[in-house]
Amino acid sequence: MGRLLTIILCIALLTVHIISLRKITEQEKLIPKGEDTAYVMPSPILRVTALEFHGLASDFLFLKALVFLGGTYERKENPRVKPWEWKWLYHVLDASASLDPYFLDPYYFGNANLTWDGGLIKETNELLEKGSSYRTWDFMLPFYIGFNSFYFLDDNDTASKFLMEAARRPGASAIYADLATKLAYKDRRTENAITFQEYILEHTDDPKLRTEYETRLTALRGVLYLEKAVVSYKQRFGVYPRSLEDLMKKHIIDALPQEPYGGSYYIDSSGKVTTTSESKLMPYERLNLSPSSEPSSLMKD
């Protein structure tokens, strides 16, 4: 009799246990979670509490972010993810990255989601910059900063700077260099382009590439020389010269430098120095790129 009673009691308790657990899970989903629950501890404090397990803590914080975002895909409301939730997601990824700044996943995941869907470009770039400064062997991170700056922020200077950084890193595609140069040229950062191209030339052994780079350098140097002359002209006469011949006429320069592609340098209506062989300086064809093209073609690199 006693034994039977014990068995019945155990079964009853187990049943109630399972039912109540199910109910709790349902109820938990109904509780509104507001911004005040979205607190992430400041990184220095996380570092102290994680003791010797920084790497592991970083992994779990990242998993937290991953699981959270994955969970939002079953939501039906619009916007699917609220702005404060994006911010929270950013903070979690940032915390994960500060515990282990060499960890790629937070940067990779953050860049994929926080920019297009979340709209947090500046924050993403900050995150990527941290990663880029630690993962010195990684060309993808500075590349993404460059892309984000160019595409979302319309900041060609920063874009160029980071693309150049990316191009310096081991295993980087030659296209980064081209891109950087193109952006630099477009924004009158000819000097940067020259420095960059010289660096690349220094590290290139392939004779065909060397010739290509040398030619480009000559063209860029020519542009720079002329740009400086134009500035000098403007300073003296208050207006831009209408043509490059004016520079010679006014004795600012003695002769036009030789255009290495066989074309000629000229100054356009806005006062910008360029060349008829512009397409050789900016390899649009290689990427099939125009300013309105889909960014995904860049990401495929």
């Binding site: 592991l56 992994d59 960890f103």
Partner: protein
């Protein structure tokens, strides 16, 4: 010193047959198995996570070993009065401490070697399943991380011995050792925080800064022995770092044991 070896050997045997050791090893093995499931959840750096988990399991097990088996070996002698059986031999107090410590160190090394082999197996198996997700991998770095971990546990056990030499129960020794472990691991981070408190938006008084600096020299800086991140990402470590860290570890251990021996000399066992 033929009295050291018998003391060391019975200490080692007593430790290695301790039931708690089986529990600790089982825990580690569970981690190594879970490693497969967990590391596969990640997007890019499966390798790094696999190394994180494997090395963290070894660290945790090593810590539990020192806290629950190690302290037991020393403090139990005093708690349970088994010390009479040892000190009544022609052994000096210092030889007793040193012999017991050697036995403890031997136990730590043996256990850590076993755990390290299991960790390596775990990592290798995952590497075979996800070969493309191990971009930068270095067995030497992993080996170094495991060796440094072992050294830091030997250091911690030396401190446990030091505490046991003057406390009255093994519980107090345990509490003190845990406190020192926590301080030792977070000291570098706390010092960084105190040196630049504006990053978190807090103010620290000059007294706090001095206190932290003092603590930095007094307490063991255990974080220098933590090479898990370096192993996970195959980062470069200069030879001078390795040399100085090993030196620091050995010297601090020697200091702790010497302190323990000196205090123990004065102790009586009514």
């Amino acid at each position: 010193m033929n009295t050291l070896w018998p003391v060391a050997l019975i200490t080692f045997k007593e430790g290695i047959r301790n039931r708690a050791l089986y529990g600790i090893t089982l825990l580690a093995l569970l981690f190594f198995i879970a490693n497969f499931l967990i590391s596969g959840m990640f997007m890019q750096e499966v390798g790094k996570v696999a190394i994180d988990i494997a090395l963290s399991a070894v660290s945790l097990s090593g810590l539990l070993l020192v806290l629950f088996v190690g302290i037991n070996l020393m403090a139990k002698d005093l708690d349970k009065k088994t010390i009479y059986m040892v000190l009544s031999r022609p052994i000096s107090r210092s030889q007793y401490i040193l012999g017991k410590f050697l036995g403890m160190a031997l136990l730590i090394i043996t256990t850590m070697v076993f755990l390290s082999v299991c960790a390596a197996l775990s990592i290798q198996l995952i590497k075979m399943v996800y070969p493309n997700y191990f971009p930068r991998f270095s067995w030497p770095m992993i080996l170094l991380a495991l060796s440094f971990n072992t050294l830091s546990m030997i250091l911690l056990s030396a401190l446990a011995f030091f505490f046991a030499s003057f406390t009255s129960t093994s519980f107090i020794t345990l509490v003190l050792t845990v406190i020192v472990y926590i301080i030792g691991q977070s000291l570098s981070d706390v010092k960084a925080l105190v040196d630049a408190p504006q990053t978190v938006g807090i103010h620290v008084s000059a007294a706090t800064v001095k206190l932290v600096q003092l603590a930095y020299y007094l307490f063991p800086n255990l974080s220098v022995f933590n090479l898990k991140i370096q192993a996970a990402h195959s980062l470069f470590l200069p030879a001078s770092y390795i040399l100085w860290t090993v030196t620091y570890g050995l010297i601090y251990t020697a200091l702790a044991i010497t302190g323990a021996a000196i205090i123990f000399r004065l102790r009586e066992f009514p």
